[in-house]
């Protein structure tokens, strides 16, 4: 082993700070210290802790054609340290240096290795399957503090500061619209926090309208930049720094995910990281809750007549950053991986069908099904918002994000799969369609699985029609006088109508009656009743509103929520789509209440 290799092994035992000194000793040490593997390990150690509590990673054998590139780990680590440094630059009358340091440690630790959030303890009939969906449905509701959910040191600091002088600082020294603007400035993609912080309070005010009174997007951008530049209060700087910290964490997560080429592994690791990030969201949202309430109250006081807006929360901020820096960059591969898994689940259902007597590994089937279900829920998390979350179980639910894409593609794939299934023997069809519906009900939202159910029922009816009509055509009556009593109700049932629609002859009525009598003699009237039940189910599924839907609408309308939300309101609430500050102002000005 040569000297460079020995030095490399020694360097593997050093932290990044010691690596710096190590790399500056001489040229040999310097070249060893530049090896990317050393920085990768340090980078992963500093960014991410142990995620074992969120599950394990599963690897399959379906490789994606995905360009992967080893990220510049050293640069990524540098960014993180710079972000940590920007926390140290925060100064304000409200917080002491030690308080800010505690807060900084809490934020970084929560992102690095979050604790598992406690289960929600609410007396409500409706429960949501994920942390995010539960948080969205209960914005601003204090989590239960029974026994294990004590406030953290950071929460106590923020609450202490809130009670003392932060409210005074905001009330006396700061224009209230600066606080209000944070709701949208933080959501903007091009908000350059460094610039805002370093330029301090210089810069002049401008409005978003040109001299001619027309809407001017350039001026609008300037307007928002000036608002941020003038944003001296610590609360704004604090949120800007928090945003920067979350962003760099998300970029690091994306870098890790981008290296994965195998479909199941990608989904599995994405779900693991998303779960961990959701846990961070839960805790950080809780810590910064008093600040979020303050911002929203200031906003409501300043613009009481503005259209209904989503509240500013750290959860919203974190979800948007994750969506922008991780999900959007990977969504095509994630969706493809979900479709791959769905396809393989269906192949396994066909294989294990008693008609085909194939053998499958049930453990693998269950594991991959669970990964697929988790991944679908992760897509749902980013396709709902505070308005539509209450309608998530409605069969007419329209998510406003990638779930729509997933829904359409799944229906297309299901159509193809069911066409293939329709060529199988009838017993196999019944088994496969039944199992597939069970899988769909576990994995998808009711808006998707109700359509799949309908498709399945239609396929079954079609197959039954073919089956009975071909039997009817070959049927030779054994008696010329059918049993009259009780047969009419079958002749004029959907089963009889189906035969009538295929046989237009004069003797059709008599022949159908004889055929049904033949079925009666053979104890097969149950099959006729099954067909009629299936037809009734199909008719029911074709109805626009199910009983469950009406119940959901009835419950939510009492709270002022509607399934069909006006587009401008939907835009404001959307987590899936970015809204430029210009769009926001245009909506506000449409209400003629904006005082810009």
């Amino acid at each position: 082993m040569n000297t460079a290799n020995i030095l490399f092994i020694i360097a593997r035992h050093l932290t990044f700070r010691d690596l710096l000194s190590f790399g500056q000793v001489n040229k040999l040490f310097n070249s060893v210290s530049k090896k990317d593997e050393l920085w990768k390990r340090e980078c992963l150690r500093v960014y991410f802790g142990n995620y074992d509590i969120f599950g394990s990673i599963y690897k399959g054998d379906e490789y994606l054609y995905k360009p992967t590139r080893e990220p510049h780990w050293r640069h990524l680590l540098k960014k993180l340290i710079q972000t940590r440094h920007s926390w140290l630059l925060l100064k304000g009358d409200s917080f002491t240096h030690d308080d800010l340091d505690t807060l900084r440690c809490e934020v970084f630790l929560t992102l690095q290795e979050p604790l598992l959030p406690p289960p929600p303890l609410r007396r409500e009939p409706k429960t949501f399957p994920t942390i995010i969906q539960d948080l969205l449905a209960h914005i601003f509701e204090e989590p239960s503090q029974i026994g294990f959910n004590l406030p953290t040191e950071s929460e106590m600091i923020i609450e202490g500061v809130m009670n003392q002088n932060l409210i005074d600082e905001i009330g006396d020294n700061v224009s209230i619209d600066q606080i209000a603007i944070i709701k949208w400035a933080l959501k903007g993609n091009k908000c350059d926090i460094n610039k805002s912080l370093s330029l301090g309070s210089s810069g002049n005010q401008s409005t978003c309208y040109s001299s001619t009174g027309d809407f001017d997007s350039t001026l609008l951008t300037t307007y928002f930049q000036n608002k941020m530049i003038n944003a001296n209060p610590l609360i704004i700087k604090l949120f800007c720094t928090l945003k920067k910290t979350i962003k760099i964490h998300c970029v690091a997560s994306w870098n890790c995910l981008n290296l994965i080429e195998e479909a199941t592994e990608l989904l599995s690791e994405y779900c693991l990281r998303w779960d961990a990030f959701c846990a961070s969201i839960y805790w950080l949202d809780k810590i910064f809750l008093p600040f979020s309430i303050l911002i929203n109250q200031s906003y409501d006081i300043h613009w009481p007549n503005a259209p209904k807006m989503p509240p500013f929360t750290v959860m919203r901020l974190m979800m948007i950053i994750w969506r922008r820096h991780v999900f959007n960059k990977l969504k095509d591969y994630l969706l493809d991986s979900i479709f791959n898994l769905l396809q393989s689940q269906r192949n396994m259902i066909v294989k294990e069908c008693p008609t085909f007597k194939g053998e499958i590994n049930r453990i693998i089937k269950e594991d991959t099904a669970n990964i697929m279900i988790k991944a679908i829920q992760a897509v749902v998390d980013l396709s709902v918002n505070e308005l539509n979350i209450y309608f998530i179980d409605h069969s007419g639910f329209k998510g406003d994000g990638e779930y729509q894409l997933l829904h359409e593609k799944v229906l297309k794939l299901t159509q193809q799969f069911y066409e293939e299934v329709s060529s199988y023997p009838y017993a196999a069809q019944i088994y496969i369609l039944g199992e597939d519906l069970k899988l769909a009900q576990r994995a998808f939202l009711p808006c998707t699985w109700t359509k799949i159910e309908r498709m399945g029922v239609e396929i079954k009816i079609e197959s039954m029609k073919n089956l009975y009509y071909s039997e009817y055509k070959q049927f030779i009556p054994i008696s010329l006088t059918p049993e009259e009593e009780g047969l009419d109700r079958f002749v004029y049932s959907p089963f009889g109508k189906m035969l009538f629609s295929n046989d237009q002859s004069h003797a059709a009525s008599r022949n159908i009656k004889l055929y049904i009598d033949y079925l009666r003699i053979r104890n097969r009237l149950q099959e006729v009743m099954d067909y009629n039940n299936l037809d009734a189910l199909c008719q029911k599924l074709k109805q626009p509103k199910l009983v469950e839907d009406e119940e959901i609408e009835y419950q939510n309308e009492q709270m002022g929520l509607k399934l069909e939300v006006p587009p401008e309101e939907q835009v404001l609430f959307s987590i899936s789509n970015d809204i430029h500050p210009g769009q926001f102002l245009a909506i506000i000005s449409a209400f003629k209440t904006f005082e810009g």
Partner: protein, 167 residues
């Protein structure tokens, strides 16, 4: 019927050092070395292994390590190390074992690498890394008599590139 409960004598492997001295070690202990294992498995009758690059003092030290971990796994050393004191990075026995002068640690590491004993090699590297932990560049250069090869402007540039000192 009587059983013989006397312990069966274990096969011993003879390790020949660079000076030609023979050091004996039990086969079960010697198998910790992948190099010796491959020799034994490759040639069934092998009982002597020549180690021309390793002196007898170092071989004795290696045998001490082999005997200690004959029936158990060596502890895993955390990476990165958390302290410049070995007692805080690994077990007390390991820390005491590796508490030797620099030349001995280097020789031991070379021997561990030759004998393909990864846990011992990692222990030596961790001991060496302790010498780097928390030390300034000037201290390191002075201790190991390393000349500064960087021109002054390049050295400034190196410092400027690294924001780590900010923390």
């Amino acid at each position: 019927m009587f059983y013989n409960f006397n312990k069966i004598e274990e096969v011993k492997i003879r390790l020949r050092s660079a000076e030609g001295h023979i050091c004996e070690v039990e086969e079960s202990a010697a198998l910790m070395s992948s190099f010796i294992r491959s020799m034994i498995e490759g040639f069934n009758e092998v009982t002597e292994v020549s180690l021309p690059n390793i002196n007898s003092v170092v071989i004795e030290k290696v045998i001490e390590y082999m005997r200690h971990y004959k029936d158990k796994d060596p502890p895993i050393i955390k990476k990165p190390i958390i302290s410049s004191k070995m007692e805080e990075n690994t077990s007390a026995w390991d820390a005491g074992f590796i508490d030797a002068d620099w030349n001995m640690v280097v020789d031991l590491m070379t021997a561990a690498d030759y004998l393909m004993m990864i846990p011992l090699r990692d222990l030596c590297c961790a001991k060496m890394a302790c010498k780097f932990k928390g030390r300034s560049i000037d201290e390191l250069r002075a201790e190991y008599h390393i000349e500064n090869e960087f021109p002054s402007e390049m050295e400034e540039n190196l410092e400027f590139q690294h924001p780590w000192r900010l923390e």
